[in-house]
Point group: C2
Chain length 182, copies 2
């Protein structure tokens, strides 16, 4: 017993999220348990609850931390900007493939970074001339579904040539062509 009750371990929310992310990257989703996170931090299982309300919240926060890596670059050409945003989102999600279906099951993320991406998407579509409310929501849904779905379907698959990326990009261009009708 290296520590008595009442002694602190120096845990922070960041360290908890980092440990969870490492576990996910190294051993996959089934290995991401509260108890495993605690063990990796050399702490009692329930100590995690001082920094995170539940496992569900932990997963949400790990996901949102990953989404911080998405590159939102406003391009001169709105179509190119949209293409870049969705491609970057997919690339970032593929860092933690196991997380993506969970993401979908939660009906999309709701964290700060997810909102940032939603706002960026909205802005780019507006730049491209999609101003009608209904058309905006339709375009956003279609693009998000396709992009997240694309990341989810790759999973931890062994395919290592670029064919998956090319296929994704082809479909994305078709959707953009439809949205921007040309």
């Amino acid at each position: 017993v290296p520590r008595h009750p009442g002694q602190r371990a120096g845990l922070t929310k960041e360290r908890v999220l980092a440990a969870a992310g490492e576990l996910l990257a190294e051993k996959g989703l089934p290995a991401l348990t509260m108890r495993a996170v605690a063990q990796r931090l050399a702490v009692a299982p329930n100590a995690i609850y001082s920094h995170v309300a539940s496992k569900s919240e932990l997963v949400d926060e790990v996901l949102d931390a990953v989404l911080a890596g998405v590159d939102v670059r406003r391009d001169a050409d709105p179509a190119e900007a949209l293409f870049g945003l969705m491609a970057s989102t997919r690339r970032v999600l593929l860092q933690h493939p196991d997380l993506v279906p969970v993401y979908l099951a939660r009906q999309g993320a709701h964290g700060a970074n997810a909102q940032r991406l939603g706002a960026a998407l909205h802005g780019m579509l507006a730049d491209a001339g999609v101003s009608d409310d209904e058309a905006q929501e339709e375009a956003r849904r279609v693009l998000i579904i396709y992009t997240i779905g694309s990341a989810a379907f790759v999973g931890g698959g062994p395919v290592r040539d670029g064919s998956l990326d090319r296929h994704f990009e082809a479909g994305l261009r078709w959707l953009l062509a439809g949205i921007l009708n040309r």
Copy 2:
């Protein structure tokens, strides 16, 4: 104790799958446990293993059973046939929204009905003139990702007007237009 060791309960694989499907429909994915299935069949928890190798296999079989409901109708117009196939797939998947992300996590289904759908998709694309191998795989991936992703993203959502369906159909038409290049 209503039954002694050695006595049979009259279980079949079909009854097990049916109980699992009901549980899923009534109470959602978290309620789908081996023990709950057993309880619903008034049987000991481990009795299920006489009819199904694991929980993973159980889920796979429930999913494939659902896919049996997909309507594969060859139309005169190949584009319409493709549209109908994907729309029907989505509709059927929405009967068990919780299952769809699991489906994606498994990298798509591999059961008998999933293969049947894959073959139908291939045939319809060939009818539409998509003959090149690379183009075929690309088209299949894009359509499947979009359709499954669409079902996953709805989840148990409360939206009850037809806007989600219309949005799905719009995106699907854009993809088909790109695939059939017109």
